[in-house]
Assembly symmetry: none
Homo-oligomer: 249 residues x 2
């Protein structure tokens, strides 16, 4: 029996019965438990089932969960997220933008953390909601279907009313000369407001976006307090930013 075939069989079974047991499957298909486990792992990675101890459940089990679709260069983003999380302390007010890096960070937040997270990004909010001790504030307004984030004057006005301790920006392009740039006008307006409102601005960016430029300017480098990439801080690529007085992690 081929791998694909097997996985299709499992999937069908899961969708029919809402659950499968690894032990039953392996005797049924006549392969080792490891193989079944690997199959379930694969299916879980694709978001088609939810793996649990002893088997798997239908992914429709969890009503609200965005497809954990293959995040682009996820390992790197996990490194970034880990560094970013080290900046968090209990009791903080945290403002975040959208983007997959932010979502990755949201997923990795320690369960013990007690803080308030503010965002207009739907995927990020979904992750925050799963956390047991985090207060979640949703910034409302019209939803931009492309970026899955609330945009508009209402959202900007709301952000101006708050004074978060720290602000995490998922970044599309950053350059020592041009600062942060982006390609969606409405999102840029929002990010500007976020930067102005916050006591401390942290910029999350994978290395391949460093030294790139997008058409619309968000802010100059002097607004950035901390820059986080997956590279070690002393990497030559990041040298120019340290020279500008930005703390590099």
């Amino acid at each position: 029996m081929l791998k694909k075939e097997r996985q299709a069989y499992i999937l069908q079974k899961v969708n029919l019965h809402n659950k499968v047991l690894s032990s039953l499957l392996c005797s049924e298909i006549n392969v080792s438990e490891d193989t079944i486990r690997r199959d379930l792992q694969d299916l879980a990675d694709e978001g088609k089932v939810i793996k649990v101890h002893g088997g798997a459940l239908s992914s429709s089990f969890y009503e609200v969960s965005l497809p954990p679709a293959a995040v682009y260069s996820q390992p790197k983003k996990k490194i970034i997220a880990k560094k970013a999380i080290s900046l968090l302390e209990n009791g903080m007010f945290v403002l975040t933008s959208g983007g997959t890096t932010i979502v990755e960070m949201a997923r990795m937040l320690p369960l013990s953390l007690r803080a308030t997270f503010i965002s207009g990004s739907i995927p990020a909010i979904l992750e925050y909601m799963h956390h047991p001790h985090i207060e979640v504030i949703l910034v409302g307004d019209k939803i931009s279907k492309n970026s899955k984030i609330t945009v508009g004057s209402e959202a900007i006005a709301k952000i101006k009313q708050i004074k978060p301790d720290i602000c995490f920006l998922g970044t599309n392009a950053i350059d020592p000369e041009q600062g942060i740039t982006d390609n969606d006008w409405e999102v840029v307006q929002l990010k500007k407001a976020m930067i102005e409102a916050s006591r401390k601005v942290v910029c999350l960016s994978i290395a391949e976006k460093v030294n790139t430029i997008q058409p619309i300017k968000v802010c100059d480098t002097n607004k950035i307090d901390i820059l986080i990439t997956e590279l070690p801080p002393e990497s030559p690529l990041l040298e120019p930013f340290s020279a500008l007085g930005i703390k590099v992690l």
Copy 2:
């Protein structure tokens, strides 16, 4: 029975009856009391139930997972959703609450519909976002993790500023004498505001919730314009509502 599966079962039971007893559960599922207690502990840690001596209470309705129940009631909800959709017209401003019935309706919206949907319910918003021609307005504020909806004075203030053509309420309990009642104080405040703001109030409820009462009052029957259940309008169960001048679909 898998651990998660068991917990889902317990959760469903809690949401249905508003309470569970450890002793009953353990004989029902055939595991030791310790296991049940650990499950309740886990669920309580995630904020999904409130643990008390001897069992657990509903921490308002929390609908992560209910495949067995959902499978049964989904057809009913689809009937309701279909009737509700017949009330929609292009260009309308539509305000909706949360709840699985509303989500079902969101999934079934005709692709050709062009309208503006306003809601604070995260699951509903996710569905609206997938629709090609719908404008989505998100009402922001603190998120209630239990009901997955934004609650608080900001959200209420925002709703008071708008004047939607029609408002769809997912209903937990409706009774000819007591009107609409619910069990989450904050959600009730929000629903009150929604009812006041809207030109027309449509109440969606599956028949098993008709003639039931929850602790907190939302509104009297005279605020309701239309009542939709999965039953035919002339069903005797719905007679009292017609007599009160409510249009029954």
